[in-house]
């Protein structure tokens, strides 16, 4: 189901996006770095209207600080959260072991761009087979299932087996 369009994002985003698949978009920065962003519905947690958010640096190019990148991403997130029923998960890319950096950057972006009276971000880290993962949940404060969604997210993470000793809030 299409939940967000390129037109919605392009109405306010500094970098114009094009739709490359349903709920998935691509754009290029002033540095020439190509990104895709998108939302894919989750079927694992048993929560309705919850989507994974993905952001991919297509060519794994190194980048400079670019405030227009975070602005573009957060316009997409604001459009996504037009519906109070939606919630969002992310799991930081870890192909180069820089997942902690990505998580810190996303939390920084959230602190600078998100409307905190509207949204809650919960981040967690955990280990799985000697790798450290960073994940997060974002939902609207007026989501009718606010507490249940957080409890389910925490239940999923808390019940990862004992090989995840660093799982913490």
């Amino acid at each position: 189901m299409r939940i967000i369009t390129a037109d919605q994002i392009n109405a306010r985003a500094p970098y114009p996006v094009i739709e490359v698949a349903e709920n998935a978009f691509a754009f290029i920065t002033n540095e020439g770095v190509r990104y895709s962003i998108g939302f894919m519905e989750d079927s694992n947690l048993g929560i309705s209207d919850i989507y994974h958010f993905y952001i991919t640096n297509i060519d794994n190019q190194k980048t400079q600080h670019d405030p227009l990148l975070s602005e573009t991403v957060f316009v997409a997130l604001e459009e996504f959260f037009n519906s109070s029923n939606r919630s969002m998960l992310y799991l930081c890319d870890m192909h180069d072991n820089r997942q902690a950096v990505r998580n810190r950057l996303f939390v920084y972006w959230f602190a600078n761009h998100a409307k905190h009276n509207l949204l809650t971000l919960i981040t967690r880290e955990f280990e799985y087979q000697k790798d450290v993962y960073y994940t997060g949940l974002i939902l609207r404060n007026d989501n009718p299932q606010y507490s249940d969604i957080i409890n389910t997210f925490n239940g999923f993470l808390n019940n990862l087996p004992n090989e995840f000793p660093n799982s913490k809030e």
């Binding site: 694992n44 890319d93 299932q145 249940d148």
Partner: protein, 44 residues
Amino acid sequence: MKTKWTSEESVAALKQMLAARLAWEEQMRSRVAKLNLSKQGQPA
């Protein structure tokens, strides 16, 4: 909504999430590579 989790269910869900992420990234790299994006947001 799922309220109780076993370790096996949590691990299975995590593995599904990781696999879905990889599949999505591969799909996006393939699709975006064909676009030859321009800075005006349209294929060049």
